[in-house]
Symmetry: C2
Subunit: 209 residues, 2 copies
């Protein structure tokens, strides 16, 4: 197994934190997104979507999304379970991660990539070029604020997002909240459950992965 990674990007960090929680080690190759290495022929042959993370399996096949990689690792290395201990918890964690990706990561990326000069022709990740649309900056910032409120409500009277067990939902949400610093939308003080949970997660050794 080999992980194509970028140490500064949020999505591969989700995989690194997942791997750290599993207590396994995986060979890692850094892809320099800042210089556009993902658009070169060598990397496009590995992942035509031109994104990281990518997990290359021993047969040479590649998984090219955070979800695909984490679900594969969960089956191969079941302990400790990070995507649910039974059917209901499994469904709940997949549910939470889906909301975190759609209402968190995509919202933050919308605000960030439609503003930053270096993404002027790459407002979306992937192989195709799309121009920035300025209206999406404010929409993304607004959505990020609602995302924080939803996380805070979900965390009321809970230790972790899915209940009493740490999971992939916590990894995904924690790194989304860290990613939101890129657009300078802070978690409001009124979201006290979210702020306490963030402190709790940041103390795990895997948070430094």
């Amino acid at each position: 197994m080999r992980l194509y990674d970028c140490s500064t990007a949020p999505s591969p960090r989700r995989v690194r934190m997942f791997i750290a929680e599993k207590g396994i080690s995986v060979d890692t190759v850094q892809v320099d997104l800042a210089s556009g290495e993902q658009h070169g022929d060598a990397f496009a042959a590995i992942n035509p979507h031109r994104t990281v993370p990518v997990l290359q399996l021993d047969d040479g096949s590649c998984l090219t999304t955070t979800g695909g990689i984490c679900h594969y690792l969960e089956r191969q290395f079941p302990q400790p379970p990070l995507i649910g201990r039974d059917a209901a918890e499994h469904g709940l964690i997949v549910d939470l991660v889906s909301h975190i990706e759609q209402d968190g990561y995509l919202a933050i990326a919308e605000a960030f990539r439609n503003k930053a000069r270096s993404f002027s022709r790459n407002a979306l990740t992937g192989a195709q070029q799309y121009e920035q649309i300025p209206e999406l900056v404010e929409r993304g910032r607004s959505r990020t604020g609602h995302f924080f409120v939803w996380l805070d409500q979900t965390l009321q009277n809970k230790t972790y997002l899915a209940g009493d067990a740490f999971s992939m939902a916590d990894i995904s949400a924690f790194i989304a909240v860290e990613f939101s610093a890129w657009i300078k939308v802070p978690v409001p003080d009124s979201c006290s459950a979210l702020l306490e949970w963030r402190d709790r997660i940041s103390e795990r050794p895997s948070a430094g992965a």
Copy 2:
């Protein structure tokens, strides 16, 4: 178990087709999206995200995404497997579904919801109101065209998207291709593998679910 459904919408159709392939039956309640029933207090208490599908479990808890619902059902009713027979196939199917949701459903929804008059203040699904952004119509149509090409390339020399076994990836992609009719972006004749696969999937009894 109870499924909150809308017979005309693409996302709940993915769950209905998944259920039909599993050969199980689930009580269904229709939610009238056209009249805005999802924004009423009764439904918002069931799902604050105000979307369908929702699967309410026997303990009253609710799964509110297609992914969460299908992963729950896969664990509860493992036969026939629709999300992989081993770790590598499981990872691959989750990977494919992630691309289909991000590059297919979101692209088509972007083109559709930013144009249709009835969505003038609801350009995104969910509880929050966002105005339409006209530039997203063309961007969504362009992305949909690239989505078709990717599906066609993925289907080269394969019976199904993940290889030789029908899966949740086929369900998700088939209904995304049907959904693309809403924005009148046809699958080009050059995508012959995709067109043949579509015909093959449409012959399954579950395609009518």
